[in-house]
Symmetry: D2
């Protein structure tokens, strides 16, 4: 099979810029994909940082203005790994320029922004994807398989939470390098768009559409110094967010995210209780799936701790040998592998921009309910 | 110290009748308490069953009408372990007769019932207690100590759930022997008054009053055969119940209970996240407390799995040696020990009927919110 | 069914005297056994302590010389819960007097002592039993069932350890109240006869006879003050003991016990690896059995954590409801229940004195190998 | 800092060839090392496979005879990832040719082979290293730090096992592609040189030299079809191996490895019990370290489950953010990073060939003891 080159133009050089770059660089060492990603250019406002990043990862060139990047004829795909307030503008321009577009999550700061992005890529007919990487955790994919096979039966409960503790200190400033997630103007929201969005995306994928929600949010630390202005300013983001939900399939759900759960660094857990079986997964031990099968002989029923490292587990035949775990960044490699395979077959693997919009409709409803104190429905797109 | 006898009259012979009887019989083998409980009489409508129970546990006599029991001069304490719809009437009569009154939880089917019970015992000035036994799990008491010492600092989050799976089968009837918990008329509500009430009682004790809640409930199986009528009837109880809450101390909470969580038998978990430390406890491994202390040296911070069997752990010097765990029924023995010690000192240990009422105010608000779809406040008593 | 009384005469009032007394007192509250144990007399050299113990547990009388107890016509069963150096003399006298004899483990300080005890009870034809209580942990009994059903297939490995940490301090004296386990003259040996004996008894029961062993022992703290003499004396016991073994069924084993494993209070774990399945159990979470079944579908294989609280688990229908765990002392209640049921049917449930002797043959071989540095065979009785 | 190129010549293209290649390719994306590894050539007897491997990983050229590779002037470093029977000859030739030499473990099939290899690299004065990669697991490095800081105090116990289950089937042939580990002629031994060698290397590093051992080995399946001859032949390797050991520091140890422990894929666990603290680690959850500190307040002591993903954990500042785990292959990247940094500073990081020899002396003694049935000392080099 002849391999075609796919020229990547990356915007952003932070945490996500690293995970994406690693995925492009490594995918062909482990997956026999029909495209070869070429690290053509990285773009950042600060040219020195862009150059340092290019040196580390092997990008052939740098740009300091994303508009220049989007115009370059030698770029096939624009990958947006810059802060949330830049997503819509870049994505729309890239789509208009006929580029494939990959975008970090959340797609937009609001569903309105995301809707415009969906319209742009669909109008342009370009492949597009949102980096909800937890859909590519092997244990989560196995959960999806079990659900699709009907193993769980009628679903009664969905339960997800994403707990962190990194913003508890009053001394942490808002905004600036690495801290834009605390700046409401840039991020759009706090944990709702950051952590809950992950929980919602996975939930929509595994359990179908959400019908309505009732939510509460809280900002525990009301004022923080803003790095850019140097002043102590009101904090605009939600530090914690929780909601109850009803899914279209009749199941009940609780969702919660916070950056104030002392002792948890990135505890994203999800649990699904079905009539016949239940599953439970936890990001802090992402290589395991907990599974309870009521079909097991009565006295021998128990939660199975499945070590997801066998060759018959999703993606795992591409890695090492049974018992040897993979880590976080592998999810991005899997996503790139699926994307490259998909586009070679004329398909656009999920999560597409349209999938990302579905999540934004839910986060919009969550934030609206937290303000209104009412149950809120989800926009029809979902 | 001379020991006084305390004559017990028990109403009910089910699961709770057994745990209470065991507690009275065993307490003095492990605790040096100033009263000796005497199993004077057990009361049940069916005399044969009452007699069988009396034989097993050593009750000296039986009664088939609780009114007769309450009138007996040789009874000091009435212990109510019969279904929820009998609590108020018996408790009020017992108080009026000057008896001490212990009552299974929930105190009343509604706060109104519970309020009348509180009024009765307070007017009569008789010692009283509700069997919220999880306040006497050594691990939970240790959690309480840590909170009272200020170890956790400002509290951000409270998280509790009580998951069971025993009513998933459509074939299970409602009502009748051992199944009155599915009969709304008898039980008052489903999981809200049964399982959530436990979660709420512990939460009020550990984290202070709740201000308001938003809730949802669901009855997954709409009709079941009723054992007493023999007919398929509409199910009146809630099979699942979840709510968001705000506590008076500013913390946010999620609560959930269900009997449809496949794979969980009695998974009552509670977690509290404070600024400086977090704790987590789980009824299915009740002899452990998980504790995270942010004050530990950074690179060595981790959740400690504390095996609560040392002599410096609450209640444990009365039991065996380090490493050897106790079980479920010990919580009732602890409660009796505390009660007997307390009344000898003229005190009435918690949870009193007034404490039980506080929980009923919250369950009332939960059920009201589930109907109204609104945030509901909690009655001022709490 | 008419119930016969069975008059108990207990020797010793320490930790084990308590667990046995509790078992006699409680057994009929939970098990419908054909004998009613009557706490007739407790015997201890110190009459004040004996009386205090009798008051706590309800013994009708006390004795200060076990010879008097053995002679009493109103005693049916002599239960030996005194230090190891008293076992043989009392047991033999009791058997000669025609009493049933229960004895704490290890049966003798040496196999020679134990052999004389076996001869005595077998000659007298009296029911007899050794308190290897871990054979009555429901999870361990379930393991036994699985093995007997052939679920595991050919056994490759047996792995047991019993780890404690309570003697690490140099300041701990040897001998005296509660510390006779550190006095070689009284105890016979250190962890070999104390902790390893438990591991060996369970292993012989689950996995059949051991053929040969190679062992090492160590005394980490060479001198300790002796409480009785007041002098610093050489320590005679083994603080740690480990051995490799080959079983008659061809499996390989590692065994280890120590009182110097910081962080473990009573971590008795056993694991068996068979061709088709494996099991793993741990005393510090005794209400769980870990089970791996290779027959499960490949991608869904995992260790099942079975919460041993269902009514179809061994002994558990006698206790509470699913999800509610029992503790350590319940194993003694189970043993008494089985004993009473067995003798009513003319059977003598295991572990008999002969079973206890089998373990002593192994501990003798372990200690011999530790001295010789050679592989040592086990006496033919095993 | 100017970066020098370091030209790599790899021998072998199997599982280990992949992990090494990935390490060379990725190291500079995460670590700021002074050398740039260049994938110059891969060597394998089968040129087609060599070419396929070169294509996947980006090797510039292939060789089919390692002698040609060793002679090439454009190669700086020979990396030996071929079966055990090739290690000595290639390593010695490479050293004689003045190349740096990295070699997979075990260094030699016997200590005699390994000794010749040590002599060759030391005579040539070339940098050398053995791929005992578990020394670069962040959790294990943290354990090493704690030991070196004296946190554990006097060490009483070391306990290691490496359990797998992949060779239980009688149908598995010996020898041939991917199965040379079952061929005694190629591998040298079975689990002793394969799995136990890992346990021993880590132990020598963490706990110092071993003085003597007593061992047993077993071959459960006596005959298997040999892939190369097509005949059923006697199996020469040990399927399981266990030994007791005494370390120079006075601690006692148990070691065990097997490929017949149903349910375990790669369960390498190690535990160290010190007077003041204990540590426990497990390869199947390699991103966690269990730590018990007796210095913690008594009632709050417990095993801490430390999630090794914080920036103050070894190597972790180079990876992602707290809570996000790394996997197996990262240990090889760390080893390359340390090697490149070390040689730039004129040092040769451990484990050197001399360290690898120390392990071979122990495995030789283990195999000798298994044959002799005696305790065997370790050669003085250790």
């Amino acid at each position: 099979m002849e391999t075609k080159k796919l020229n990547i133009g990356l915007v952003g050089y932070g945490f996500m810029g690293r995970t994406h770059s690693n995925a492009y660089r490594s995918v062909r060492n482990f997956f026999d994909v029909p495209y070869e990603p070429v690290l053509k250019a990285v773009c950042a406002r600060n040219p020195e940082r862009a150059q340092a990043f290019a040196n580390t990862w092997g990008y052939e060139s740098i740009e300091s203005d994303w508009r220049s990047l989007v115009k370059r004829a030698d770029i096939d795909l624009i990958d947006i790994a810059s802060p949330n307030d830049t997503h819509a503008e870049i994505a729309i321009a890239a789509a208009d320029a006929g580029k494939m577009v990959l975008c970090e999550k959340p797609l937009g700061r609001t569903a309105a922004e995301a809707k415009a992005m969906v319209d742009a890529v669909e109008k342009a007919g370009v492949p597009n994807m949102v980096w909800y990487n937890y859909r590519r955790v092997p244990a989560v994919v196995l959960a999806k398989q079990l659900i699709d096979e009907g193993r769980l039966g009628r679903i009664f409960h969905y339960r997800a939470k994403f707990l962190q503790d990194w913003t508890i200190s009053q001394d942490l400033p808002q905004g600036g390098e690495g801290l834009w997630r605390l700046d409401a103007g840039v991020a759009g929201s706090g944990v709702t768009g950051d952590l809950l969005a992950h929980c919602i995306d996975t939930a929509l994928w595994l359990n179908g559409p959400i019908q309505r929600v009732t939510a509460m949010t809280e900002t525990f630390i009301k004022e923080r110094k803003h790095t850019l202005t140097g002043k102590v300013q009101k904090v605009g983001i939600d530090d914690a967010s929780a909601f109850l939900a009803r899914f279209g399939n009749g199941s009940l759900a609780t969702f919660e995210a916070t950056r104030y759960a002392r002792g948890h660094k990135a505890l994203y857990t999800l649990e699904i209780n079905g009539e016949n079986a239940s599953i439970l997964w936890d990001l802090e031990d992402l290589h395991r799936l907990q599974y309870f099968d009521h079909g097991d002989e009565g006295r021998l029923r128990g939660w199975r701790s499945i070590h997801i490292t066998d060759s018959d587990h999703p993606y795992m035949k591409h890695w090492w040998v049974p018992g040897l775990q993979i880590g976080y960044e592998h999810t991005f490699i899997h996503q790139v592998a699926d994307f490259l395979q998909g586009i070679s077959e004329g398909q656009n693997p999920s999560p597409t921009f349209r999938d990302g919009l579905a999540t934004d409709y839910v986060t919009d409803a969550v934030l609206k309910s937290a303000r209104s104190g009412e149950w809120e429905g989800i926009e029809p797109e979902n």
